[in-house]
Subunit: 332 residues, 2 copies
């Protein structure tokens, strides 16, 4: 009998479902659209309830149809869910800004009604899920203390301390993307100022690019032809690869700020290693080198001596979300 | 038979030794001068060894003479030591900038040679000791998740997570005074830039005071009569109590930066409460009010909902160091 886990990743646009074995192989997967904020723009309770009910029914239907297709003698050990603003302690999704549900939603409990015999159903945010994926299937298999920073549209973090994710007393701990690195700096999506995410997420990199373009009046930069709306971190990467000075400096600055933030996290936990995950990390040394330099520079001497490894996640970018969610079950 | 703990606090100038009962009462105490950096200015190994040997002999002699004076049927459960750059995991003091010892010193082991029958001897830094003191004797008695920030000449932190201090894999975790809050800001004593300690320690407050004096050309401020060398945080406090605008703003700004740093720590751990300890905290609402406002302002919404308590340490400032050190033994 093969043990299998169900991983569900609730993203802003799509929700992916996969059946995963203990080695981290996704046997089968499918997806559905995540209900959009546009479907409940005025936050009506009745609309929220209906959307949620339909969403969970559809997740259940797809999951059961995936299970029906597995030609193996298997045992499902549980369902793990990655979702924004997920509360591990309570099994809820709470006030998620990009989902159409109102307030605090008992997601695990509602899903349990669809799977009454499921041994366990857990939920956490996507960055914690990524850290768990790294622990169960990836480069952190032999570590009990590490931190994971996920870089993308936002910046998330999963803090793995003494053998488990740090959830804190309310289930929400590990939100390092919103740590202040520049007092009274850039406005962050959360409404705060000077947060890491406002500098080092993909949109943060774009903001840095425009800052440098106007600082140098760099009309000759490859980046000068994009509108503010259309420029992406991919454009910045491509320009950097071609040697564009502005684009290269964007990576330098992004790495510098990330190194500062990572030093702060090391000062808290003194982990064995740091893992980085997400699109911008695929730029490799363009970003990892300045991160390492800045981390070293910003660490207290006692931590510098140890030369803390900064590692790229071993999880496949395209499948990490399902894997991470599924890992939530193995780790319990 | 009464159980007692021995607490030893190795400070920059003096080393205090006390015998403490389980209720946190210091039955008897004494002190000796801490060997000074001046005694080994060129960091010679032989001088370091001799100073260390003499220091430990003297600690042993005083401790034994204190024990001889106790008129009780007692059992000593262990010795707890608070010291700069102490490594809990290894029982060492490592590269402490203000002590005359070279490199890594096996302090616990050397002290154990003087007390061969002692059940346990542990060492940690003073901020971790303060957090343990709060846990064992103070306001955190019923908490398993809290953080303690100690404000003084420097800024330390003790992070108490799931029932124990966070030591990290090398025993050095919890150095939040050196978290960057102002990218490329003020030079810190550690050589880094923009660290919390450079803004919110007592010398940091003085720097802020001079920044404001010159910004406003405030010759009418009560603080304008002190030289840079002579001004202390006590002068700033006294001026603030008299309504001096510059002094009041120093507290506002100090609180604002502390709130940012505390938000970062909450984002990591989501603790039950935050404790503050040290001289500047005795200014009460002058500093605590702006800290709370800034904390609230800098927290992600999901954490704001909980209204995390910011509490003043219940430990007596004059005895907290011995108490904290002694707590290290009860907690094990």
């Amino acid at each position: 009998m093969v043990k299998l886990s169900i991983g569900i990743d609730i993203g802003g646009t799509n929700t992916a479902i996969g059946i995963v074995n203990q080695e981290g192989k996704i046997l089968i997967e499918d997806s559905l659209p995540t209900p959009s904020k546009k479907l409940n723009p005025n936050a009506e309770q009745q609309v929220s309830d209906e959307l949620l009910h339909d969403f969970i029914s559809e997740i259940s239907r797809i999951t059961k149809s995936l299970l029906a297709k597995i030609n193996l003698d298997y045992e499902i050990v549980g369902i793990g869910i990655g979702a924004p603003n997920a509360n591990y302690n309570e099994g809820t999704i709470e006030y998620a800004p990009n989902l159409p549900f109102i307030g605090k939603v008992s997601f695990c409990k509602m899903l349990a009604d669809e799977f009454p015999d499921m041994p366990r159903i857990h939920i956490t945010n996507d960055a914690n899920a990524a850290a768990l994926g790294e622990k169960i299937y990836g480069g952190a298999r032999n570590m009990d203390n590490f931190v994971m920073f996920t870089l993308g549209t936002g910046i998330g973090s999963g803090l793995f301390y003494n053998g488990n994710i740090v959830y804190g007393i309310d289930g929400f701990a590990g939100e390092c993307g919103h740590n202040t690195i520049v007092a009274e700096g850039r406005l962050c999506g959360c409404g705060g100022r000077g947060h890491l995410e406002a500098y080092c997420s993909a949109p943060g990199m774009k903001r840095t690019a425009f800052e440098l373009l106007l600082r140098d009046n760099a009309e000759d930069s490859l980046l000068s032809g994009y509108s503010y709306k259309e420029m992406t971190s991919k454009h910045i990467y491509e320009a950097a690869v071609q040697g564009d000075k502005i684009a290269l400096e964007v990576f330098e600055i992004t790495g510098k700020y990330l190194g500062m933030a990572l030093a702060t996290t090391v000062h808290h936990f003194s982990p064995e290693a740091i893992f980085l995950f997400g699109g911008p990390v695929s730029a490799g040394d363009l970003i990892v080198k300045p991160i390492k330099e800045s981390l070293e520079h910003n660490l207290l001497t006692i931590f510098q001596k140890r030369d803390i490894p900064v590692l790229i996640s071993e999880l496949d970018l395209g499948h990490a979300a399902i894997l991470g969610a599924s890992a939530l079950v193995w780790n319990n």
